[in-house]
């Protein structure tokens, strides 16, 4: 087995060496200029970041690597120092993250709201329900299919909070299915299976425009359904490799007046209403 180990070792080191030697321009356009932004799928799937990131890169010269995952995973990346700055929407988890000292300078950026969507036939009759909790109770009673993100994202965290408020433990129920996918893909699944789901308004509007999903907004407008996005810089004291100046630049950029103005207009032309509402400087 010694031979085997040697072969494996040589192979592995050769791989890594050769890959490291390949076009050096690829392996990092000037080290300190790289900035890893861990964010939620909704900011990417709605197309907002496609507008904001090139602007930021042009203004500051940083090269942003946007890693679009759920808020939960984004914060895990922050905890391990694998991201420099986070754009997330999971307030409860964010507070815990800040409390444990993983982040600095948590700033309010924008909000939109969550919607309870479902097929037009509305088998559980939740349309016009006074609250999300009431609607969820009806879904549970009727046994109509509900699709959960199930991926520890901000939306999933909100969903779990709402189930808890309704006093229902949906896990393991027949009518409750977890997709484990991003927002856009979960919307696609719900459209195909005629299920209910919780979605942020931005992704729903963006997706519904491109493909008629056949899902209606059934419950919306409750303060509990607010979807709030914060930008958090990862604490460089915990992880020295974190690009702190870059993170600060991005955080400042997100709350700067021109960016906020852009956010307020984003999507109006295409969807008839804004997808996000700027909130910089406000308190929750």
């Amino acid at each position: 087995m010694n031979h085997l180990q040697r072969v494996l070792f040589v192979t592995l080191s050769c791989f890594i060496l050769s890959a490291a030697l390949v076009p050096s321009s690829w392996s990092a356009p000037v080290q300190q200029k790289n900035l890893i932004l861990a964010t939620t799928t909704s900011t990417q799937d709605s197309g907002l970041l496609d507008v904001l990131i090139p602007m930021f890169e042009k203004q500051t010269g940083y090269f942003v690597k946007t890693i679009s995952v759920g808020s939960g995973q984004a914060m895990k990346m922050g905890e391990k120092g694998e991201a420099d700055v986070l754009l997330v929407h999971s307030p409860e988890a964010e507070k815990a993250f800040m409390g444990q000292g993983f982040g600095v300078n948590r700033k309010l950026v924008m909000h939109n709201d969550f919607l309870l969507l479902g097929p037009a036939s509305d088998p559980a009759k939740i349309h016009g329900a006074k609250s999300a909790a009431e609607a969820l109770k009806k879904i549970a009673q009727s046994g109509a299919l509900f699709l959960s993100r199930g991926d520890n994202s901000g939306t999933h965290a909100k969903e779990k909070g709402l189930w808890k408020a309704a006093g229902i433990a949906p896990e393991g129920q027949k009518w409750f299915q977890e997709t484990g996918l991003g927002m856009g893909e979960t919307l696609n699944v719900a459209a195909e299976k005629h299920g209910y789901l919780l979605s942020d308004r931005g992704t729903y509007l963006a997706l519904n425009k491109k493909r008629h999903l056949g899902l209606e907004i059934l419950v919306a407008g409750e303060p509990k359904l607010l979807n709030i996005y914060h930008v958090i810089e990862v604490n460089p004291a915990k992880w020295p490799k974190v690009n702190a100046p870059g993170a600060k630049a991005f955080s400042d950029f997100m709350v700067a007046a021109p960016t906020q103005a852009l956010i307020s207009h984003f999507g109006t032309k295409e969807f008839g209403s804004p997808l996000f509402f700027p909130d910089a400087g406000k308190t929750e």
């Binding site: 392996s27 090269f63 690597k65 391990k80 493909r211």
Partner: protein, 232 residues
């Protein structure tokens, strides 16, 4: 059905207009998977030949391991390469995570066992007396190995195709170690996943068609070379 037609139309539009973003994604896919296949050829054929031609204890176990590796799930490779390359991980100092190089590393790891497994099979397929014959003609060791590789070139070409086909079409590792960063590590497969999530099915179909076209063209060329001379 309309969707597929729309996708086809969109694909031709994107290709005909030489859309720079799509073109960039396609070129990056080719470059990354091409280089990964190249590395896997060096290691796969090299070690595959070595394993096939030598006798040592534990050879059967090693060959079984290689053959198992031929079905190595890309996400598993993606996960382990990510962990190794995290900036606070063991190889973090190289700052390779979320770069095209990281995808090349992961894809090389995926393709190498495929090429190696096929190489071992191809080499062991050769008539046992061939070696003796070549040696009897006064060949040196290097010449012997070279002759044997040339002799096995047809199945080896199949190895190249299998390796390339395996890596250009995988998405799990590419998205994990590359991060699907726009204009930098976004390859055809990861872009397809993202566009599907965004509901841009026409673009997703266009990207898949380009991917299929690539696979076909590359395999066509390789098959052409492979079939140029009929085996004796």
């Amino acid at each position: 059905m309309d969707l597929i037609l729309e996708g086809l139309v969109k694909a031709f539009q994107l290709l005909a207009s030489l859309d720079p973003e799509v073109l960039g994604i396609a070129m990056l896919s080719l470059k990354v998977s091409g280089l990964a296949t190249l590395f896997s050829l060096v290691f796969g054929i090299g070690f595959g030949t070595l394993i096939a031609l030598t006798r040592f204890p534990g050879k059967k176990i090693l060959v079984s391991l290689v053959n198992t590796g031929m079905g190595l799930p890309p996400v598993v490779v993606g996960l382990f390469v990510s962990i190794l390359l995290w900036r606070n991980g063991p190889l973090g100092f190289m700052e390779l995570l979320y770069t095209p190089s990281a995808i090349i590393i992961a894809q090389s790891v995926i393709a190498t066992p495929i090429v190696m497994g096929i190489t071992i099979a191809a080499m062991q397929q050769l008539p046992a007396n061939l070696r003796l014959q070549i040696l009897a003609l006064g060949a040196t060791r290097t010449q012997l190995v070279w002759m044997l590789i040339k002799e096995a070139r047809l199945p080896l070409m199949a190895g190249v195709m299998a390796g390339f086909g395996g890596v250009i079409s995988e998405v799990g590792a590419s998205i994990m170690v590359g991060g699907n960063v726009k204009g930098y590590t976004r390859v055809l497969t990861t872009a397809t996943v993202m566009e599907t999530g965004r509901g841009n099915f026409d673009v997703a179909i266009a990207l898949s068609l380009i991917l299929l076209l690539f696979c076909f063209l590359i395999n066509y060329v390789l098959t052409y070379i492979q079939q140029r001379e009929r085996p004796r």
